[in-house]
């Protein structure tokens, strides 16, 4: 590391991909000076926070004491190999390659495999499996959507560059003008507020949300002659729906943007995602519509996709019988931990991003943490092994998926630290060798 006094020359890693949220902006120029990130150009506030100064701890701990990577890995392999029942938990912050290693470890150990998706976006995933979905990659929204509905998504806070990178602000290939050719509908549900710059805004009580969506479905699927009668029905839901339906039906390509991982400010019906997905599908009978369910940062969609391609299922997989079984309710990490079924857990990824309920449940079992800031994030006597790694996308390369499953390369601005991928590869080797012995 340089001394910084006029000796160091700043380096720029161009077109880096940010995993601060699911937008996965890949136009970040990361400036490094004297071994620190000093600027992440083009990044939003979430991105700046995600890149930070790029400095992470580099410790390997066994039972709270510093040790070498090799001995930490040996201990980790021993714990996992002797586990009665192991849980492999894919926390956010992993490259797809590392996620695949996590799948391999769970398969090898006949363990439980789960990811953060189960505790943050379960309803969206299950809905997509039960009824399918009408969607598009974000560029299609950018190039084509002339009606953009932000449904109860704090887009400016949660996905800050969505508006400027995808819609409504950019010019599109199939739009005459940029913002002016689009109609933006903001639907505020409870405390969730859609963008300030909307052409049409409605505010819905969370209790009326599903009823409004069902009324909307009825309006957009009704034969045109029946619509006035339907629209004349009384009640808040019909009034809201009436307000929106005409605009939706007049659109050539409607984007329905919502948050797959909403916070807890309002109690919401678990059916809301089903009705949102259903509305988007049904709008395709009259016009084109794509629903976009936004995911948070850290390559969360990647975990779903890697698990699906390698096991057939996007989350909550149990390998106990020697093959993957899908247990989205009973087999989640939280459920298995709560039942005391698991005696050893491996947390791969950024432990600080493990959902609070899972983090709390992990206190009851011995576990291994491999990922950025492992040595500090899940402190406590249950952490037997902690191996700090770099952050995928800052210190190591690989692939990550955007919220819409579009893959992007990760370009490390500060290479050199051990990556979760490399550590997991070695761990797989240890476990396989023990299995053969």
């Amino acid at each position: 590391m340089g001394d910084g006094y006029g000796m160091s020359a700043a380096t720029v890693t161009a077109n880096a991909t940010c995993l601060g949220c699911g937008c996965a902006c890949d136009d970040i120029d990361v400036v490094v000076d004297a071994g620190r990130i000093v600027e992440a150009r083009n990044a939003c506030s979430l991105g700046a926070e995600w890149f930070a100064d790029g400095r992470v701890p580099t410790r390997c701990l066994v039972d709270g004491r510093d040790t070498s990577l090799e001995s930490a890995l040996t201990r980790a392999a021993e714990l996992l190999f002797t586990a009665r029942r192991a849980l492999v938990y894919l926390a956010p912050g992993l490259s797809c390659e590392s996620q695949c290693h996590g799948v391999a470890i769970a398969d090898l150990l006949r363990g439980v495999l789960d990811s953060a998706t189960t505790d943050t976006a379960l309803d969206v995933v299950l809905t997509s499996q039960e009824r399918g979905y009408a969607s598009a990659t974000l560029g299609e929204i950018r190039n084509r959507a002339d009606v953009v509905v932000f449904w109860a998504v704090d887009i400016e806070q949660r996905y800050p560059r969505f508006l400027s990178r995808y819609a409504p602000l950019p010019a599109g290939r199939d739009l005459d003008a940029a913002r002016a050719s689009r109609t933006v509908i903001a639907v505020d549900v409870g405390g969730a507020t859609a963008p300030r710059d909307a052409d049409q805004r409605i505010a819905i009580d969370p209790a009326d949300e599903v009823a409004t969506l069902i009324a909307l479905q009825a309006l957009v699927t009704a034969p045109p002659d029946d619509r006035p009668a339907l629209g004349a029905r009384e009640g808040r839901a019909w009034a809201h729906a009436r307000n929106v339906a005409t605009t939706l039906l007049a659109g050539r390509y409607v984007a329905l943007v919502y948050d797959a991982e909403p916070d807890e400010r309002a109690r919401r019906s678990s059916r809301r995602f089903e009705t949102l997905a259903g509305l988007a599908q049904k709008l395709n009978d009259s016009t084109r519509c794509a629903a976009v369910a936004m995911r948070a940062g850290g390559n969360r969609s990647g975990a779903d996709a890697m698990m699906t391609s390698r096991t057939g299922y996007p989350l909550a997989v149990d390998f106990a019988r020697g093959y993957p079984r899908y247990l989205p309710y009973d087999g989640s990490a939280s459920a298995c931990l709560a039942r005391g079924e698991v005696d050893t857990a491996l947390v791969l990824g950024d432990a600080a991003s493990v959902p609070a309920s899972v983090a709390a449940a992990l206190h009851s079992v011995r576990h291994i943490v491999i990922g950025p800031r492992a040595s500090s994030a899940l402190a406590g006597p249950a952490v037997v092994v902690a191996i700090d790694t770099g952050v995928a996308g800052i210190h190591s390369d690989g692939m990550a998926l955007r919220t819409d499953d579009v893959p992007l390369p990760l370009r490390p601005a500060l290479p050199g630290l051990p990556s979760a991928e490399a550590v997991a590869t070695t761990l797989v080797g240890h476990l396989a060798a023990r299995g053969r012995a």
Binding site: G132, S135, R310, P324, D405
Partner: protein, 557 residues
């Protein structure tokens, strides 16, 4: 295992004019050689059938779309769990997975190999999703393979055609194939997917216009891409999924497409789905005879069949408007993903039932194409996995082709309402020979793919060999080969999967005129949401296939 002698089998190697001769096949360092020393390992193939490893020219095994399908059918996975195989190969970790209609990656590789197939191509990858496809192929063991890049609705390509710049379009294609690590050009419903994205619900005809100049039509897209494959000396012809898939009367579209490309090398895929005539009241009937007779008479055309097999299927295609129609008619769940600037993606689970009139017609049309084909070198066995049925149904399909009694028994069971006019009902006597099976499942597709070292067992060929034990039931014979050798490694022994080395990636990197990158970069800057620099997949594990020497039109490097 570096040296191997497969002893005394009855060899079917049509590319080398070997038709059922007893001989040894020797392999050294992964390739077929004249002879190996007596110390070489031996596989006893006496009394057995020996063929080159199977080559699948058109399947869906590794792509973003395949993953959409995997995600959509957990119920199918649950019915077919796939425990890890008992490998003796300690270099790799045996992996469990799921089978069903859209198997997980590892299981896909194991099952293809278990069927005696050693080369598989995914026929439809959106360029934007190329990284995902390569990642899945990396975890699809044993089989060599690659993918075809979807180009028939690509906006920059359409813009270049619109501007009358077909030569520049070709340079763009060359760049794109290299950037994505693809093997061939794929066209799906040329222009029609873009029209669907614009909201059209009409049939797409060859002269439907899309651009501002009137120059962009499905016909122009097809001509441009077929010519590009020729000019770039690509190993495989442009792989064409015609307009109007599945619609009654689409045989007219298919014939018109063939005529417009007359004399140019072109591969028409899942021809079965494009060979329907229509009755005066607009219902389906077979148009297979007219289509296959045209193919028979035109040696520049090849096809794979896309046979429908009764049972579960998952329809997944870049032809998204087809999936919308299927969803509306079947009521089954539906996933659609419009892919920016490139293509579409639709998935609907499906079931072909013997007693369903349309399914029975589709089944019959596929068999007509096989049985009326005059040149096995230009007709390839496929089910368009998993669209017409799983690749796991190939053995049953082979039996349908080889065993008339079995075929006729099934014909008697199927709903015959739409079969009037089908040649199958007239009693097609033909039974495929083993030589013909070897052609339509390996030698032919290898030749059509330009894979000089595959599909045959001559000296220098890849050491990919399948050994089948003959029996009364042809389907059983082809379902569980006794031995499968991949690149000289015995992967299946005594019918059990024992080794699972990684497969090799097959891809091309044609030279192109560097001047085109300026235009591509501008297009990315204006309309793409992925940076130009982040689009190419970079170096792959295996080197690109050698191409015939080609000089780009404007002196590229």
């Amino acid at each position: 295992m570096t040296q191997l002698r497969i002893v005394g089998g009855t060899v079917y190697d049509p590319l080398n004019d070997i038709d059922g001769e007893v001989r040894d096949i020797c392999i050294d360092a992964g390739r077929v050689v004249e002879d190996v020393p007596p110390t070489a390992a031996r596989v006893d193939a006496r009394g057995m059938i020996v063929m080159p490893g199977g080559v699948d020219i058109h399947s869906h095994v590794a792509s973003g779309a395949v993953n959409v399908a995997r995600r959509l059918v957990p119920e199918a996975h649950a019915l077919d769990p796939a425990p890890a195989p008992a490998l003796i190969d300690t270099a790799v970790i045996p992996r469990s997975g799921v089978g069903g209609i859209v198997p997980s990656t590892f299981t896909t590789g194991y099952r293809y190999a278990g069927l005696g197939y050693t080369t598989v191509f995914d026929a439809a990858v959106a360029p934007l999703m190329a990284r995902v496809a390569h990642g899945q192929l990396d975890d699809t063991p044993i089989v060599d393979g690659g993918f075809f890049a979807l180009l028939g609705n690509d906006r920059l390509l359409l813009d270049l055609i619109d501007g009358g710049e077909r030569e520049r379009a070709r340079e763009y294609v060359a760049w794109l194939l290299g950037a994505t690590g693809a093997y061939a050009i794929k066209v799906v419903n040329p222009g029609g997917v873009e029209l669907w994205k614009r909201g059209s619900r009409e049939r797409t005809e060859l002269d439907t216009t899309l651009g501002s100049s009137g120059r962009v039509t499905p016909r122009a897209i097809l001509e441009t891409l077929v010519d590009a494959a020729g000019a770039l000396d690509l190993p495989h012809a442009t792989h064409i999924h015609c307009n109007n898939l599945g619609l009654p009367g689409n045989a007219a579209t298919t014939l018109a497409t063939m005529r417009t490309l007359d004399g140019r090398r072109a591969h028409f895929t899942h021809l079965q789905f494009h060979s329907y005539a229509s009755t005066p009241d607009g219902r389906w009937r077979s148009g297979a005879r007219e289509i296959i007779e045209y193919v028979n008479d035109h040696p520049s055309i090849s096809a794979d069949v896309g046979q429908v097999m009764f049972g579960a299927a998952a329809t997944l295609t870049a032809d998204a408007p087809v999936e919308y129609l299927l969803h509306k008619s079947s009521g089954r769940k539906w996933a659609n993903v419009d892919i920016e600037l490139e293509t579409g993606c639709g998935v609907v689970p499906h079931e072909y039932r013997e007693r369903a009139a349309v399914a029975a017609l589709q089944w019959a049309v596929g068999l007509e194409l096989f049985l009326l084909s005059a040149d096995p070198w230009r007709i390839v066995l496929s089910t368009d996995h998993p669209n017409g049925g799983s690749f796991m149904s190939y053995p049953r399909l082979i039996r349908l082709l080889m065993d008339r009694t079995y075929r006729d028994a099934q014909l008697r069971r199927v709903e015959s309402r739409l079969l009037a006019g089908s040649a199958l009902t007239d009693g097609l006597e033909r039974e495929y020979t083993l030589r013909e099976i070897a052609i339509v499942t390996r030698a032919g597709p290898a030749r059509l793919l330009g894979l000089r070292d595959k599909g045959h067992l001559g000296v220098g060929a890849d050491g990919d060999v399948t050994v089948y034990a003959p029996g009364d039931d042809v389907a059983r014979t082809f379902a569980s080969p006794r031995y499968v050798v991949k690149g000289g490694t015995v992967v299946v022994e005594e019918g059990e999967l024992r080794r699972a080395p990684p497969g090799r990636r097959l891809h091309v990197r044609p030279p192109y005129d560097r001047a085109i990158t300026h235009e591509i970069r501008t297009h990315f800057d204006q309309y793409a949401t992925v940076r130009f620099e982040n689009f190419p997949v970079g170096e792959l594990r295996d080197a690109p296939s050698a191409l015939a020497t080609r000089t780009p039109s404007a002196g590229g490097r």
